[in-house]
Symmetry: C2
Subunit: 142 residues, 2 copies
């Protein structure tokens, strides 16, 4: 039987985060000691590991919820899991493309900075005038 602190250590999660997962129904309500402290078993350890690893791969908590559901139905076709993973891959690819454009632009800005007065600063100039940019980066926060 694991205390919440030990479960946290084993999975690289913060204690508060585990309680948060319980609160939003991603983790089950565990057993308690007489004094009211949570105690966890193997099943919960596995489930939390799954959640954490999925988070590391960038899946949203909603997506993880779906994936956990699928894991509970071993006889259903795995197409759905595949779809969720593909969706996630698409998102990662879109973000990569965007970051690449930003990288290009930022590198150019920094390279062209001559180190003079702020008045002549290329960095500020480029930020002031979008038309100086060579790449597309219309979206925010993708």
């Amino acid at each position: 039987m694991l205390t919440i602190g030990n479960l946290a250590k084993k999975t690289g999660t913060k204690v508060q985060t585990i309680r948060y997962y319980e609160q939003i129904g991603l983790m089950p309500e565990p057993g308690r000691t007489e004094g009211g402290q949570r105690r966890y078993g193997e099943a919960e350890l596995d489930r939390l590991s799954f959640i954490r690893h999925s988070r590391q791969l960038g899946f949203s908590l909603d997506a993880i919820r779906e994936l956990l559901d699928l894991g509970d139905h071993p006889d259903r076709p795995c197409q759905e899991a595949d779809t969720i993973a593909r969706r996630q891959l698409k998102q990662v690819e879109r973000r990569m493309a965007r970051l690449e454009a930003l990288q290009t632009e930022l590198r150019r800005m920094v390279r062209e900075c001559s180190g003079g007065r702020t008045a002549d600063c290329r960095v500020l100039e480029v930020l002031r005038d979008h038309s100086e940019c060579l790449t597309d980066h219309e979206e925010i926060g993708v």
Copy 2:
């Protein structure tokens, strides 16, 4: 003189976002009509354009605040602006590296999915067992 709606249109910002920027002190309090509606001039249009463009390049609102400050002191050396831009570039590079690792792993997961029952699903299997991963992806949300 621009209404808030027109300023929004010209800069590709939502009206609420402009009011939010005012609230947190990123945009100045503009003049008002007798009835209390906001009216904006060229200076505000320029400032908001600067903010939006910086956001598109991924700068945080705090960083943007610093950059705006620098723009108000044309005689100071532009080293600080350079530093902020370099910091931003570093962050973008870190994110890119991380996303690349995720991409690799997700592609492998999806490629190996045979389309059978959920019980044999590679996607779920990999998520269950981190040791199946070839890449490092410890951090969350970078």
